[in-house]
C-alpha cells in the first residue's frame, strides 16, 4: 500500500469516527428526557380518573354514584326509555352522560389540559355515552376498567388520553 493510500485510509477512519461521535451526540442530546415518566403519569391519571369518577355521588339521583347510574343505564334499552328516573325527571342514562361530560371537561379540558375519548362497550344503552375532545387518533395512553352490572354481565369503560398537540 502506497503512502498516499494509507493517508486516505486514515482520513476515512477519522471521518467515520467523527460521524459516529456526532450521531451519538445528536441521539443523546435530542432524546426527550421524561417521555417514559410522562407516559406513566398520564396512564395513572387516566386510571385514577376512572376510579374517582365511578365513586362520585351524582347530584339529585337517590344518592347513586356514577357507577350506580351506569349500572342502571346499562340495563335499559338503546333509546334509554326503560332507564330509572332521577329526582329531577332525567333518566339515569342522561344523568350519567351529563355528569361524566362535566367531569371530563373540568378535569382534562380545564385542569390537566389533555384531549380525551371516553366510551363504553358491552351494553347498547351505555355505548351511547361516548364523549371526546380531540379524539386521540394517534399516540395515546389508555385506561380500561371493567364494571360489573349484574353477575356475569360486565361492561368495559375506556378512557383514551393524549396531549393537545397530538391532533
Amino acid at each position: 500500500m502506497s503512502r498516499a493510500q494509507m493517508e486516505i485510509f486514515g482520513l476515512v477512519i477519522i471521518v467515520i469516527l467523527v460521524a459516529l461521535g456526532l450521531l451519538f451526540a445528536v441521539a443523546v442530546l435530542t432524546k426527550k428526557p421524561t417521555q417514559q415518566v410522562q407516559q406513566m403519569t398520564t396512564s395513572v391519571q387516566g386510571a385514577n380518573f376512572l376510579n374517582t369518577l365511578m365513586g362520585t355521588t351524582a347530584r339529585d339521583c337517590h344518592g347513586l354514584t356514577v357507577r350506580g347510574l351506569i349500572q342502571d343505564c346499562a340495563l335499559a334499552d338503546v333509546n334509554w326509555n326503560s332507564a330509572s328516573v332521577c329526582a329531577d325527571g332525567k333518566s339515569t342514562c342522561e344523568r350519567a352522560n351529563a355528569t361524566i361530560s362535566f367531569l371530563l371537561e373540568k378535569t382534562f379540558g380545564e385542569v390537566l389540559k389533555k384531549d380525551y375519548r371516553f366510551f363504553m362497550s358491552g351494553s347498547g344503552a351505555a355505548e351511547r355515552i361516548s364523549l371526546e375532545r380531540g379524539g386521540c387518533p394517534n399516540e395515546r395512553e389508555s385506561a380500561v376498567r371493567p364494571e360489573l352490572v349484574r353477575p356475569g354481565f360486565y361492561i368495559n369503560v375506556t378512557l383514551y388520553l393524549c396531549d393537545k398537540t397530538n391532533r
Binding site: 477519522i14 469516527l17 467523527v18 461521535g21 456526532l22 451519538f24 451526540a25 443523546v28 442530546l29 428526557p33 421524561t34 415518566v37 403519569t41 395513572v44 391519571q45 385514577n48 380518573f49 376510579n51 374517582t52 369518577l53 365513586g55 362520585t56 355521588t57 347530584r59 344518592g63 354514584t65 355528569t99 362535566f102 367531569l103 373540568k106 378535569t107 385542569v111 390537566l112
Partner: protein, 166 residues
C-alpha cells in the same frame, strides 16, 4: 544538505499538523462527552424530582390525618373533607410550632399541596404550603381524588395538586 533540511521541516510540519487535528478532534469528542454526561445527570435529577413529587402525592393521599377510613378499611384514593378541614386548621394554628412543622416537613418536604373540589361544588383549599426561600424549578403533579363528605355520606370529585420545589 539544504534540500534534506527542507524536506525534514515539511515532515515536521506534517507531524505537528496531524497532532493539532488529533487534539482538535479529541477536544470536540470531550466536549460532546461532557455535554452528554451533563444531560444524563440533568435527566436523572429530573426523574428523581418527578419520583419525589409522585411519592409526596401518595403520602398526602394516605396520610392518616386525611384518609377515608371505615372501621378497619381504608378507601383508596380518597380524602375525608372533615379531616381535611381540621388538618388545615391545625397546620394554620401551628405555623410557628417548629416541632409540628418539622414533623410534616420530614414527610412532605418543600412542597405545596392543594385539594380542589370540582363536583358537586367548586372549592380550592390549600392544605400544606412550604416553599423554600430559593428554588430553580417546580414540578407539578395533579391527580383526581374522591372527596368524602361524612356529614352527608356523599363522595365529591376533586383534584389533588402537589407542587414540589427543586
Amino acid at each position: 544538505m539544504k534540500k534534506r533540511s527542507a524536506k525534514g521541516q515539511i515532515q515536521m510540519f506534517e507531524t505537528v499538523g496531524v497532532l493539532v487535528i488529533f487534539f482538535f478532534l479529541l477536544m470536540i469528542g470531550a466536549v460532546f462527552y461532557f455535554r452528554a454526561q451533563n444531560t444524563s445527570l440533568q435527566r436523572e435529577g429530573l426523574q428523581a424530582s418527578n419520583q419525589r413529587a409522585f411519592q409526596t402525592t401518595l403520602k398526602a393521599l394516605y396520610l392518616p390525618e386525611l384518609d377515608c377510613s371505615f372501621l378497619k378499611m381504608q378507601k383508596e384514593n380518597c380524602i375525608d373533607l372533615v379531616k381535611l378541614q381540621k388538618f388545615q386548621e391545625f397546620l394554620e394554628e401551628n405555623q410557628n410550632n417548629t416541632q409540628v412543622m418539622q414533623d410534616y416537613f420530614t414527610e412532605l418536604g418543600f412542597a405545596s399541596i392543594t385539594v380542589s373540589e370540582l363536583y358537586p361544588q367548586e372549592r380550592h383549599p390549600v392544605l400544606y404550603d412550604n416553599p423554600p426561600d430559593e428554588f430553580t424549578d417546580k414540578i407539578v403533579k395533579k391527580s383526581p381524588v374522591l372527596l368524602y363528605d361524612p356529614l352527608r355520606d356523599e363522595y365529591g370529585f376533586g383534584i389533588i395538586e402537589v407542587d414540589v420545589y427543586v
